[in-house]
């Protein structure tokens, strides 16, 4: 996983509550067995005017000029400004993969759905929770100022605005450490392999019915 230190970039405002993971990446793109290449289909049903297909040449598809992602002023955006309950619905990790592949590094929203929030951290993407007033303020500033950028410093837990003022944010200490150091969760957990083994042995004795082999046969 890539390390996350400081990220500065254009902010793209997505003015919509309850953005679900079907909205972020529609199901037909979930047939891939890879983790990459989802960026061109991020927000597919809103970004293009036709129906997207996994094998389509996306450069030939009609673009929806009204959708925020297609507005030239937000080209190359790294920070996604969003509304309540962002990432609700399906657990598909293809949603953070698509956001990351497109180039987003940070999401700012008043709230997130649990599974999506968790999935972001596993992919070097930083979802920040800010209070509603801060989010509304940022929407107004982004829309009023073309080329509006924010600089997000994870170590300091601050967001630097163009006027030099900063917004502080909180982040789980463990997740912060993992992001800053690009740590692999599995490697970390396996450092506790002895604890897992000893738990497992006790549990097998206490609840042997969870460890029986089925009478069912595989096909």
């Amino acid at each position: 996983m890539n390390k996350f230190m400081i990220e500065k970039g254009v902010v793209l405002p997505l003015d919509r509550a309850n953005v679900d993971t079907d909205f972020i990446i529609p199901k037909q793109f979930l047939k891939s067995i890879k983790r990459t290449g989802f960026g061109v289909n991020l927000f597919d049903e809103h970004r293009y005017l036709d129906k997207g297909l996994p094998d389509a040449d996306n450069s030939q598809r009609p673009i929806n000029p009204d959708f925020v992602l297609n507005k030239p002023r937000y080209k190359g955006a790294k920070v996604l400004l969003a509304k309540d309950n962002f990432g609700c619905g399906s657990s598909r990790e293809h949603a953070p993969w698509a956001l990351d592949d497109y180039g987003f590094r940070v999401i700012l929203a008043p709230s997130y759905a649990d599974i999506f929030f968790n999935n972001c951290f596993k992919n070097g993407l930083l979802p920040i929770v800010l209070d509603k007033a801060s989010i509304s303020g940022l929407f107004a500033e982004v829309e009023a100022n073309e080329g509006y950028q924010l600089e997000v410093d994870l170590q300091q837990q601050t967001i630097l605005k163009p006027d030099g003022s900063t917004i502080e944010f909180s982040v789980d200490a463990f997740r912060k450490n993992c992001l800053l150091n690009g740590l692999d969760d599995i490697g970390l957990t396996l450092e506790d392999a002895d604890k897992i083994r000893s738990f497992e042995e006790n549990w097998r004795n206490a609840a042997p019915w969870y460890f029986t082999t089925s009478t069912a046969t595989t096909t």
């Binding site: 199901k27 047939k31 891939s32 067995i33 399906s90 599974i115 969760d185 897992i196 082999t213 089925s214």
Partner: protein, 473 residues
Amino acid sequence: MSSKTLYDKIWDAHLVSERDDGTALIYIDRHLIHEVTSPQAFEGLRLAGRLPWRADANFATPDHNIPTTSDERKQGLEGIKDPVSKIQVRTLDDNCAEFGIFELKMTDDRQGIVHVVGPEQGATLPGMAIVCGDSHTSTHGALGALAHGIGTSEVEHVLATQCLMQKKAKNMLVRVDGQLKPGCTAKDIVLAIIGKIGTAGGTGFTIEFGGEAIQALSVEGRMTVCNMAIEAGARAGLIAVDETTLDYIKGRPFAPSGELWEQAAQSWRGLVSDADAAFDEVVVLQAEEIEPQVTWGTSPEMVAPVTGKVPDPAQEADETKRGNIQQALKYMGLQGGTAIKDIKLDCIFIGSCTNSRIEDLRAAAEVVKGKKVASSVEVAMVVPGSGLVKKQAEAEGLDQIFIEAGLEWREPGCSMCLAMNADQLGEGKHCASTSNRNFEGRQGFGGRTHLVSPAMAAAAAIAGHFVDIRELG
């Protein structure tokens, strides 16, 4: 010892370690796997040279991506016309073979939607910690198991370590007092709950569903309720174990038997919240007030009783809510103030991990028996949740009732709930669906979904528009 909720009890029993900041390792008893969210996880294992920690804790079946027409299905893997889908299903077969994981393949009679098959096989047991790379894993909470949906990185983590890294959620009790009225079902209960607390109402919580109306439900009905806990924002839903639960499990292939069954059952009877356990939040509904529910918008919280109307945005004082209603009505092609019963349907979908079990099919069949699907309905299909549900339905003659009424009788799979296979709702078409999500494009590009119970979907198929199931003789 202080009193505990059911969630507290299962959590504590599975706690391997806990860091100072509350991040914990939870031991996982059962990991359910399907073809869409697992290939990248297996690839990760291979790249790191890791093996599954405990291969026999895993259970796989393909469901999301497979065709449901019998001509495609009878040819097995080779019959899948979509080459990308075929690769994904084959990859699951190959990964399970390589890593020694139990799989019910597409051609097996017992294959089906993973959340139908797990409980059906007894692979879901009370008190287990269960995960699956699918948000509707909450379904398994109906049997008193702590069941979480997870992402693909976590699928890999569970495969490699048998643990999930997690912070404990807060406790919410949703109590449904009293008795449901005739014609009202588990689906109506859960839609009414979501209508009340909203799609983010359960975020950060594990919801325990309790009260007289929940206790009165069959295990299948309880699965419908827990299935949609995720639509209320909760990662897990739970229902206390009782004799109904134990009766359901006994004798299933993966369940313990003999002396071990007796020991297990004795232990499982304790899987209830203590009488004086404290919940962080309590929500109460009266079952008598719950009417058959129909969603009118693009989020499951956009729901109304069948006797109601589509809301008029002009009547909404809150600016954000008004905007949301306007956006939803534009997508749905509906006018504010329209009576729910005046919404015309082009498509009927009876299936999904929410409502594709035998009791769901019986309820739908009872409504359509001896009648014909309205000529204005273009597509009407019944997709059983598993091969065993299909077999049982056929033994009861339900397939013939559906076919004679003009509904298609399909092979088991997720089908038009998420439309990853060929079963897709047309652009601009209205569908009465027994599934769980009415998001934009969920059932097909530009498709318009209305979530309802199986009986309500069946009644809509006959009438061509929504009808109050309670008014049918």
